[in-house]
């Protein structure tokens, strides 16, 4: 008997008496004792609703049907009191965002001990001692002090460790982790995933891992369930699923992810549409409306699961079979040789510094301490090329992008835009310059005014910058731009909330390019989007850049996306540029230890490659940018750290190999170049 056997689970949310949406539409899955099972899908596929249903944590507006047999007992027949006795003891959960999932006004220690006091017979003192042990087990140094602290005093990675400590406190049989690393940085993600897998093994707990990231799953899971439209559409062992994906959706998902080892000069193969335009299962395959090979045969009500091979089942009328997943469809046009144009870069940043007040004096309120967000960065953006800037949160990459537009005050240094220094320029002089540089933001929902129609949003920049021509010409321009970003012309009269995330980001791009700028700054343009939609936007950005011969500064934390889109790549750490090179060169031969560890931390959507490679998991957290380490900012976490120079001498950026600049004292030694 399986530890967990979910049969035909349905979850319906009723918003009003007549309107209801089906989030989970007949999910069946099993988890054996001690097994690691992944549930993969995009937003709206019902994976989180499934997890919450298991613990009986859905809001009151939800109706649950079906069976959830856990340890021989159907949880759907229990009332909340009976369920609460099992929650936290037999089934425990780790949530996505450790900042909001911990109570901000209760000390960490209490948040751990309360679950022990509830479910075990421990005394207060014994529970406190056990909490200390748990913190040690999840790798938090100085646990006695930490127990008295509050969530905001811990880093994101540490908070998630606390969540994990709470979850394993009572030795649960099943640990459910809902996107446990999505809110974390890549190097921290690697630590937390490793920890979760190890703890589940040590405690003999089964792990149900819910994620949108196939890469996270590949190295961790024994078995993978892929969900679409509220149902499991494919289930197989992890190696089998990645080797022989059957369902067209699984294949599409794998094809649309740029990987660190996929060929670079090809356009990605996106899945058209968004995960929200789907059919109900009663009328046929839910994925049919987005599927390239769908036909009448797919319109069978309630498509059953088909057995492909033992343990590999799917719900597809036209399974992919053994054909390789198509990766390249259209080849990208070759880049114009860089030497052809003017050698003068469009933007030249020299010794740029951006700082924020960190602490203020008691009475005068003057800042006495600064966070050095950007701490002396010099780089060039060559004309017509894409410069990718990567780094983890807090490394200063966004501050740098914003300072370029003078959206942040520049503390010192210069920003030459086409030969003009923007750093000391007055507001009045900046305006015509800003017309030539536009920005695409991460969250299109937050950066578009919800009360303006798309037509008004797009017309506004034309009006603000006094583009010649009247409303008639502006409108024509708006319509042309909508065509350009692949939105229907009717979008003009609609409002941001009427669009899906991907379409909204198209509006964001249209708003940025309508002024025909020279420079486009894209700050995490795809990280808020679903995997299948990311590829569409990546391709659109590439196309727009080519047709408008834009110079692009791409700011992102996702190495694969940066590698795919950029000509040159710069890596930042704690406000400094630590490495810069041509994209191919950088990814083939990273020289800075930080870049090396960053690449090794990215999970690959391929269990074979994942198990073969040697991973460097960085220990510790990012130091605070208000109080950076002496010498090389990376020396506190560097696996190649040496006794001399690293801790006391700041390494300068220097050309180690022609065209490849690195800020490391020992780059040649580490790379074996000398």
């Amino acid at each position: 008997m399986s530890l967990l056997d979910v049969r035909n689970l349905r979850v319906r949310f009723t918003s009003t008496q007549s309107v209801s949406t089906t989030a989970v539409d007949g999910v069946s899955l099993t988890v054996e004792a001690g097994e690691v099972v992944a549930l993969v899908g995009e937003s709206g596929c019902g994976k989180s609703a499934t997890a919450l249903a298991l613990l009986g944590l859905l809001p009151g507006s939800a109706r649950v049907e079906g069976e959830i047999v856990f340890d021989g007992e159907d949880l759907t027949t229990l009332n909340d009191r009976q369920l609460s006795a099992r929650r936290g003891r037999d089934l425990a959960m780790v949530f996505q965002d450790p900042m909001t999932s911990l109570n901000p006004v209760v000390p960490i220690g209490v948040q751990i001990t309360e679950v022990l006091l509830r479910h075990t017979g421990l005394s207060k003192a014994a529970a406190g001692a056990r909490a200390e042990e748990l913190l040690r087990e999840v790798g938090i140094p100085d646990p006695v002090r930490r127990l008295r602290q509050y969530p905001h005093q811990l880093s994101g990675g540490m908070r998630q460790r606390v969540m994990i400590a709470i979850a394993i406190a009572c030795g649960p049989k099943l640990l459910i982790a809902d996107e446990p690393t999505t809110a974390l940085d890549v190097t921290i993600q690697a630590q937390v995933l490793e920890l979760l897998a190890r703890l589940a093994r040590d405690h003999g707990a089964a792990l149900l891992m819910i994620t949108h990231d196939l890469g996270v799953v590949a190295g961790l899971a024994d078995r993978v369930n892929v969900m679409y439209g509220g149902r499991v559409v494919e289930t197989a062992s992890a190696p089998e699923l990645f080797r022989r994906p059957m369902h067209r959706y699984t294949r599409g998902l794998l094809a649309s992810i740029p990987a660190l080892d996929s060929p670079r000069d090809v356009a990605l193969t996106p899945i058209p549409g968004s995960p929200f335009d789907r059919l109900p299962w009663e009328s046929g395959c839910s994925f049919a409306s987005r599927c390239a090979v769908a036909d009448e045969a797919c319109m069978v009500p309630d498509l059953p699961m088909t057995d492909d091979s033992p343990g590999h089942r799917h719900r597809c009328v036209h399974p992919g079979g053994d054909a390789p997943v198509p990766v390249s469809v259209t080849t990208r046009e070759p880049q114009a040789p860089s030497g052809g144009g003017s050698p003068e870069p469009l933007v030249r940043i020299s010794d740029l510094r951006v700082r924020y007040p960190a602490r203020r004096a008691a009475v005068t309120n003057r800042p006495v301490e600064y966070v050095r967000a950007v701490d002396g960065v010099s780089l060039d953006l060559p004309r017509g090329r894409t410069y990718g800037l990567v780094g983890e949160s807090g490394c200063g990459k966004s501050s740098l992008g914003r300072a370029l537009l003078r959206l942040e005050p520049v503390a010192s240094g210069s920003v030459l835009f086409d030969g003009v220094d923007l750093a000391g320029m007055r507001e009045r002089g900046l305006r015509p310059m800003r017309r030539r540089m536009q920005m695409v933001f991460q969250d299109p929902m937050a950066s578009l005014n919800p009360r303006q129609s798309v037509g008004d949003i797009l017309e506004l920049p034309l009006r603000v910058h006094g583009v010649p021509g009247g409303r008639r010409e502006w409108r024509a321009k708006v319509l042309r731009t909508l065509d350009q970003v692949g939105l229907p012309r009717a979008a003009e009269h609609r409002y941001p909330h009427e669009f899906s995330g991907g379409q909204r980001q198209r509006v964001g791009i249209a708003r940025a390019i309508i002024l025909e700028p020279d420079l486009l700054i894209a700050d995490e343009p795809v990280s808020a989007l679903d995997v299948s939609v990311q590829a569409q936007i990546v391709n659109l950005l590439q196309e727009v850049k080519r047709t408008l011969s834009l110079t692009t500064l791409l700011i992102a934390h996702d190495l694969a996306v940066v590698r795919h889109m950029s000509d040159t790549v710069g890596v930042m750490y704690l406000g400094r540029l630590v490495e810069e090179a041509d994209s191919r060169e950088l990814f083939e031969r990273p020289l800075h230890p930080y870049t090396v560890s960053l690449m090794s931390a990215v999970p690959l959507p391929d269990p074979v490659a994942e198990s073969r490679r040697e991973r460097i998991i960085l220990s510790g957290d990012l130091p605070s940018p208000a109080n950076p380490p002496s010498g090389c900012p990376f020396h506190t976490r560097c696996p190649f750290r040496r006794e001399t120079r690293c801790a006391d001498e700041v390494p300068q950026v220097r050309e180690v190999v022609p065209g490849h600049r690195v800020a490391c004292h020992w780059a040649e030694d580490i790379a074996g170049l000398s």
Binding site: A85, R87, A92, D97, P104, R118, Y150, I166, V363
Partner: protein
């Protein structure tokens, strides 16, 4: 924490200075003349000049202001034009009555408002929710003086359950070491005097507390509803905690943050309400005295009292900020 309090206190000084200046100029822009108000319709010019000279109103405005500041530095706020009593003395004579009223009114609002708001949120959409939301709307829109008269009419005059006016039955001849009558009765062991003072306080406290009560109910309700949707409450449920622990430790502590801010803001509005309440119930408090002073353009009293009230307001808000820091560890760093 100490630096935080020090900074806040240091900020109070320029605020008080600005307020004094503003009030000083503003009072003198008002139509009317204090000497004429004092001497009446048929005052002679000579008499008016004498009064003006006596109080220094014949000097230039900057000179008058400097004189005011100079006295203030010595702790002297002058004396009333009307009664000749010292401003400081008469303030402290009347202040206890107002403090007692304000504490009772706000206390009532807090003690009743927070639980009511909480239960309204728990039973969202239920009869109690509708009732409390409706009643709180009524509480906000009904003017204080109207409510005061209404309460007095129903409970004191028609039903005769409670006394109509004053702070205590004079026949009790109680002793008053602090001036807070209820407390005095308890301190001296004169229980009948304490009980009597408490009965006198009920209606004024209800009249004064109605608006803050209504606002506290609404803020508490909204805040509890918001916190119940927070991720950490879901985490608490996922831990299998009992409802009582979730409510007390996870919901209420967070929900009280905006409520405490509101209470601080209400303290200011409370003084405005106190003027009317004290007048209706003939409580010899600061508000009532201020009201008379306005009618007589009693400059020294107005200046002095407003300054006192501003100091009290600043202190109350400082206390609120401190309580905020006690509840919310994140606020301690700022």
């Amino acid at each position: 924490m100490i630096a935080f309090v020090a900074r806040r206190l240091a900020l109070v000084v320029p605020v008080l200075f600005g307020l004094s200046l503003l009030l000083f100029v503003w009072l003198r822009l008002l139509p009317g003349d204090p000497a004429r108000a004092l001497l009446g319709e048929r005052a002679t010019q000579e008499g008016i000049d004498r009064v003006n000279h006596l109080y220094g109103f014949d000097r230039s405005l900057p000179e008058q202001f400097l004189l005011f500041l100079e006295r203030l530095a010595r702790g002297d706020l002058g004396s009333s034009i009307r009664t000749g009593q010292s401003v400081v003395g008469s303030f402290f004579e009347r202040f206890p009555a107002t403090v007692e009223l304000a504490v009772a009114g706000l206390g009532l609002a807090i003690v009743v408002g927070i639980p009511l708001g909480y239960f309204a949120a728990r039973r969202k959409g239920g009869p109690l929710d509708h009732l409390s939301v409706g009643a709180s709307l009524l509480g906000v829109v009904v003017p204080v003086f109207f409510l005061a008269y209404l309460l007095k009419y129903v409970f004191a005059i028609r039903l005769g359950w409670l006394p109509t006016a004053g702070r205590q039955d004079v026949r009790l001849d109680a002793t008053h070491p602090t001036g807070l009558y209820v407390l005095d009765g308890v301190l001296t062991g004169e229980w009948d005097a304490a009980w009597d003072a408490l009965l006198h306080l009920i209606l004024p406290a209800m009249a004064l507390g109605a608006i803050p009560l209504a606002i506290i109910v609404r803020i508490t309700r909204a805040s509890v509803l918001e916190v119940m949707n927070e991720d950490f409450v879901r985490t608490a449920r996922a831990k299998g905690l009992t409802r009582a622990v979730i409510r007390r430790r996870h919901v209420m502590r967070n929900a009280l943050l905006p409520v405490s801010t509101t209470i601080g803001l209400q303290a200011g509005a409370l003084l405005a309400g106190a003027v009317l309440t004290e007048t209706v119930f003939a409580l010899n408090g600061v508000g009532e005295f201020l009201f008379t002073a306005v009618n007589h353009l009693d400059y020294p009293v107005l200046q002095g009292f407003v300054l006192f009230i501003a100091v009290i307001y600043a202190v109350v808000n400082l206390l609120v900020d401190v309580s905020y820091a006690v509840i919310d560890p994140r606020a301690r760093q700022r």
